[in-house]
């Protein structure tokens, strides 16, 4: 098989514990340098925390694996300073086409509204994402990555977790105040700790092939139900970077995965699909099954589970890596506050609560997609085909066609960290909502709201003319930074410049005001992970401080 990508080989370095024959101790150890572990490590290191990241391998993901990275993931990676390369390299797409038997029944556009920085989704091979994350990680001096360091034992207690780690030079012992487990769906650490993960296995197999070809297929997602070239099953075609196409064939349960993976069996399937003598090369092939399941809770004392180690979904809807990266987005600021002694450890319970809620939503949505794509009974298939038959002509039926729902962040509406509204607001930016983006202008060149938000608590205060902010309000806003948990105030305005010591954010197209239902005096408290914590129609310092306390379990 040919290769469009040169797999890097990362150097193994003899750990100091072995060189100096001693045990090590670290404030945070992360296990697993996949997309989720790397994101967690970069986020913590960027917050000034020293981090040790262990991985049992010495390269990036083999094969394209996770290929769809959703808008919210790109926004998180923007906060970590590494989305731009991925968006440049990846394939941005908005149009999806759905075929039923011989016919195209409809197409859709993912981009629901204008004036957001990032597209709904990009397609990018997982190895590129990991490669970019490792490049970013290596710019952070307080982040150490150790390749070919395999965790073979874990012993947690009330104050720490002790690890036994195997390397080419033998084994060593280290302990960590906090252990973040990002070691994937089969999670050896979860198994070592005897922790349960419950859910259901889907009795189906899918063949995925990365195919290199110079094809004039547009940059769209094509999904076939029951196509003539693969009867009674589904097929998905996606374009990735470098003229690599991802093709998924549903195979059914009663096939031999090893046989199906052989090129002599894969190539005829692809030829039948392309329907001509077009030249192509197989780059990577795999057969997968999947489960939808999650752990009962994601935090176990000093051990914190993220990503596939904590929860798994069917691949329809790209909710694996995307939800794992959102786990770290939720976890890291909380862990940092706990480590700095600024919040009680119960704040980490809210990591589990909020991300279990999100995992349940992801499992629900991907299970619904799976049930539509692969109906489990005759009547379910009849309804499915009836929907597809009506979809060409009738908009209501198009809305019911479910070949995978776009991965979107959860509205944490029921989180105990939220302060309930006491004023009336229109729109979706309720306490717990993931912030909507909007075009803005700032003195430092920032052009997007989400580029200005995140990494600390912030208060967005709206006034039409920033220059008209009265001295008392300016003083009150400035004072928010002087607290154990500082709050950065940002004056959102249509025009003008805020008094000294305050940032001004100009609402360039009026979208911030529209999406957040702003009126003069409206103030939004937002979390370091760009979720709304509280909002009011007028600025009241005591209310802001109470809401910060509530959002950090200090109330």
């Amino acid at each position: 098989m040919l290769s469009t990508f040169q797999y890097p080989k990362f150097d193994y370095v003899r750990p100091p514990e072995i060189a100096e024959a001693r045990d090590g101790h670290y404030p945070v150890v992360i296990v697993g340098a996949g997309p989720v572990g790397l994101t967690a490590a970069i986020d913590l290191a960027q917050q000034g925390q020293r981090v040790l990241l262990l991985d049992n391998d010495d390269t990036v993901s083999i094969g394209s694996r996770g290929v769809c990275y959703a808008k919210r993931t790109l926004e998180v990676l923007d906060r970590l300073g590494c989305a731009e390369e991925m968006v440049q390299k990846g394939v941005s797409w908005n149009v999806g086409r759905t075929f039923f038997r011989e016919e195209e029944v409809f197409n859709f556009n993912l981009c629901p509204e204008p004036d957001h920085h990032r597209p709904g989704m990009i397609n990018l091979q997982q190895y590129y994402l990991e490669d970019d994350l490792i490049k970013r990680a290596r710019l952070l001096p307080n982040l150490e990555i150790r390749f070919r360091n395999n965790v073979i034992g874990v012993t947690p207690d009330a104050e720490k977790a002790t690890l036994r780690v195997e390397t080419p030079d033998g084994a060593y012992t280290l302990s960590a105040d906090w252990l973040i487990v990002a070691d994937g769906a089969r999670s050896p650490i979860r198994t070592m700790l005897g922790l349960d993960i419950d859910g259901k296995i889907f009795m189906d197999r899918f063949l995925i092939a990365d195919v290199v070809m110079k094809a004039e297929f547009p940059t769209e997602r094509w999904f076939w139900f029951d196509p003539p070239f693969h009867r009674n099953q589904s097929v998905l075609l996606h374009r990735q970077a470098d003229n690599v196409f991802r093709i998924d064939f549903q195979l059914g349960w009663n096939v031999d995965p090893e046989e199906e993976k052989k090129p002599e069996n894969v190539i005829p399937r692809i030829k039948a699909m392309l329907g001509d003598d077009r030249e192509f090369e197989l780059e990577w092939v795999s057969v997968y099954t999947f489960q939808c399941r999650r752990m009962n809770r994601f935090n176990h004392g000093r051990v914190l589970f993220v990503g596939d180690a904590a929860h798994q979904v069917s691949p329809f809807g790209a909710r694996g890596a995307n939800s794992g990266i959102q786990d770290t987005d939720n976890l890291v600021w909380k862990l940092k506050l706990v480590m700095d002694g600024k919040a009680p450890a119960t704040l980490l319970d809210t990591y589990s609560d909020e991300r279990c809620y999100a995992a349940d939503e992801n499992i629900m949505n991907s299970t619904r997609s799976t049930d539509f794509i692969t109906p489990k009974s005759a009547v379910s298939k009849t309804f499915r085909n009836a929907v597809l038959g009506l979809a060409e002509q009738f908009p209501f039926a198009r809305a019911l066609v479910n070949s995978g729902r776009l991965s979107v962040p959860s509205f944490l509406a029921d989180s105990r960290l939220n302060t309930a509204d006491s004023d009336v607001f229109a729109g979706n930016m309720i306490p717990g909502a993931p912030m909507d983006d909007a075009p803005v202008a700032m003195a430092d060149g920032t052009q997007w709201l989400l580029g200005a938000a995140g990494n600390c608590f912030q208060l967005l205060h709206y006034i039409p003319d920033a220059g008209a902010l009265d001295a008392a309000s300016a003083q009150a806003l400035r004072s928010l930074i002087d607290a154990p948990i500082p709050v950065e105030a940002i004056v959102v305005a249509e025009r003008g410049t805020a008094p000294a010591g305050l940032k001004t954010l100009i609402d360039a197209k009026g979208r911030v005001r529209e999406r957040y239902d702003l009126r003069e005096g409206t103030s939004y408290l937002v979390r370091p992970d760009q979720h709304v914590a509280a909002r009011w129609r007028a600025l009241d310092l005591a209310q802001v401080r109470a809401a910060v306390a509530r959002a950090t379990c200090n109330a």
Partner: protein
């Protein structure tokens, strides 16, 4: 009144943040209604469901239009 073929599903008291959610909620409930039934039982459930919904809609001209469209695709 003509037959409404635009997306029209909603649930009182429930706030949907995503356009696909109400349709998916309905479809899941529909498939769940048939869980563990034989094909014969499912056919009976569908017949009862149509009768109940037809009475709820009430307007026979709307029902005629729906019946005609449904038959065309059989």
């Amino acid at each position: 009144m003509a037959l409404n073929t635009q997306p029209n599903l909603h649930e009182p008291g429930k706030r949907h943040f995503r356009a696909f959610s109400p349709g998916d909620d309905f479809y899941e409930a529909l498939i769940a209604t048939h869980r563990d039934l034989t094909d014969e039982q499912s056919a009976m459930v569908n017949a009862r469901l149509i009768l109940l919904l037809a009475n709820h809609i009430g307007d026979i001209s709307v029902l005629r239009e729906a019946m005609q469209i449904a038959r065309e695709g059989a």
